[in-house]
Amino acid sequence: MAEVRLSRLSKSFGAAAAVSGLDLTIADGEFVVLLGPTGAGKTTTLRLIAGLERPDAGSVTIGGEEVTARSPAERDVAFVFQQYSLYPHLSVYDNLAFPLRSPARRLPAAEVDARVREIAGLVRIDHKLDSRSTRLSGGEMQRVAIGRALVRKPSIFLMDEPLSSLDAKLRADLRLELKRIQSDVGSTLLYVTHDQIEAMTMADRIGILSGGELVQLGTPRDIYTSPANLHVAARLGNPQINLVEPGLIPCQSVPRGTRTIGARTEHVEVEKAAAGAAANARIDWIEHLGDQNHLHIAVDGRRITLLADPYSGFKAGDAVAIRLREPLFFGADDRRISHG
């Protein structure tokens, strides 16, 4: 395991910049998640670290050694790809043994066998060691892929949306398992995804990537409660943050220069209209998602969506009084204005 440092890393394809001026230090044993939509430069960042792409500028340092000019085999990183993660012509056992038998390592057969069996146990695939890798289910495949990364004990694990092709249930299971493995092994891990839940649940720190630039870096809590700008605020939270203009919903004190107010469920108080609370909005309809309800509230022709307690007793058509409570304020440049 080792510290990995990216400094001013840039890569363009033709005229389009895939990654620009990326500065990021991943501490030894840290789990960092880069979160960004498709095309944000997540895969390119990982490929630059692995040595599959040459940066146009900047450098990659792994464990104190500058590796920018080295080949992938000389970097001691492990990569779990988004797709095609296993060698289809090999069995599960041979897939796991493949990195250990490489010319870069060439471990004796007994040691290979011991390591493969140990890791197979860790990722819970020991009962399928003799299967062809193409015969596995999606979840098993990704477990083997993670195992193949683990088997070598590399300086850093790079994972490119390893769970994105799985269904929701499996994704949730593997998310927990990956976090468990990572804390057991104490590995340094850079994980990229477009899934905010993966980022929020697994990361020690999240980096928000947009258009090839790192917009914000911080703990999941930090990024959620103090997003640097509108873009970051919109990436996190479900239902998505409501963006309204100042004055639409009553609010105690709005800082000067506020152009947009961001209001998540916890920023909005909703009350049934009564004598003391004059109605300023109406419940348009309620979406029942089973474990939670989404309230769609119409305010002055605009609509906001909030999470609601299933026992709240609201019905579609109810007149309600709503009020903001310490929401997020954004200026004309979309950056957040911190409250007085």
Binding site: L52, S71, F79, F81
Partner: protein
């Protein structure tokens, strides 16, 4: 109700039967000449030219005897003075007032065919795989033009350049050598190999090699450990196409080989001339000539079936 049981995708019984009948009919039509050659190879020379043609006949291996031997005509007294015949071939030959004089050239010609066809197939597929990998994975300057140039060598019949090749080969001392024929067939086949294999290699995701390189292999190592095993289907299909061309090629073989390097295709027709119209011997030569391709195709039929669908059903 009954309409629901009738799936839209699954063809009905009637159409299945019609399709089956058409396939069987086609197979029968294409198999008739092969069967006729096979049958003729086991006829006696008189049976082979009997009219109306005999469907039922007493099988004989005289054709095979004649294929592998040369015979000379002798007087009845001389034949009577010989010690008793030691083999079936001896006996049948003597019945026709001839004695076996020695081995024919069929076996060496057949071996030439094997060496030249398999040798050129190996070279074409080997070079084709490397070139296809290069075109598929690297930024080759003018790649499209080069690929078109490679394909363009197939746009005329190879025999159109027969005269220049004949003269070149005479100058270079490659006439009537196995090496010359291997080079020639390799040159003809390599363009096909590059194009076919490029298609197959394009379909193998790069991620596998990249994963192997990250796992500690060199690009060469990744090529052998990861790309080649997944390209076997394409390589087998390509090899069959190359082999069939090289094995069956007649025109260049007739033009450029006459002695030591002669292949079976130009040799077989010459059997007709030796001592009357010996159709059973010709048929026997043709039958044996078919065997290697048959064996090779049967051995590789699984890869071939998957390969010929060109990725349509590959997964």
């Amino acid at each position: 109700m009954s309409a629901a049981a009738h799936s839209v995708v699954e063809p009905g019984l009637t159409s299945k039967r019609v399709a089956g009948a058409i396939v069987i009919l086609y197979a029968v039509i294409t198999m008739v000449p092969l069967f006729w050659i096979f049958a003729t190879s086991f006829k006696t020379p008189p049976d082979s030219i009997a009219y109306p043609p005999k469907i039922l006949f007493e099988p004989s291996i005289e054709g095979y005897c004649n294929l592998f031997t040369t015979r000379t005509r002798q007087t009845a007294e001389y034949i009577a003075s010989l010690p008793p015949a030691t083999s079936f071939c001896d006996e049948t030959t003597r019945k026709r007032n001839m004695v076996i004089a020695g081995q024919s050239n069929f076996l060496p010609r057949f071996v030439n065919s094997l060496i030249i066809a398999f040798g050129s197939t190996f070279c074409a597929v080997f070079l084709g795989t490397l070139a296809a990998y290069g075109f598929s994975r690297f930024k080759v300057p003018l790649a499209d033009d080069l690929l078109f140039f490679i394909l363009s060598t197939r746009m005329m019949p190879p025999i159109a350049v027969a005269i220049p090749i004949y003269l070149m080969y005479r100058e270079l001392g490659l006439s009537d050598t196995a090496l010359g024929m291997i080079l020639l067939y390799t040159a003809v086949n390599v363009s096909l190999a590059v194009w076919l294999l490029k298609g197959f290699i394009d379909e193998i995701p790069r991620e596998y090699e990249e994963a192997a390189m990250i796992d500690g292999y060199t690009r060469m190592g990744a090529f052998f450990k990861v790309v080649l095993p997944q390209a076997t289907t394409g390589i087998a299909a390509t090899a069959i196409f190359c082999l069939i061309f090289a094995w069956n090629e007649y025109a260049f073989a007739a033009l450029l080989t006459s002695g030591t390097a002669q292949t079976a295709p130009p040799f077989i027709p010459t059997i007709i001339g030796e001592g009357g119209q010996d159709w059973p011997a010709v048929a026997a030569g043709t039958t044996i000539f078919l065997v290697p391709i048959l064996v090779f195709t049967i051995l590789l039929r699984k890869q071939l079936l998957r390969g010929i669908t060109f990725g349509a059903v590959r997964k």
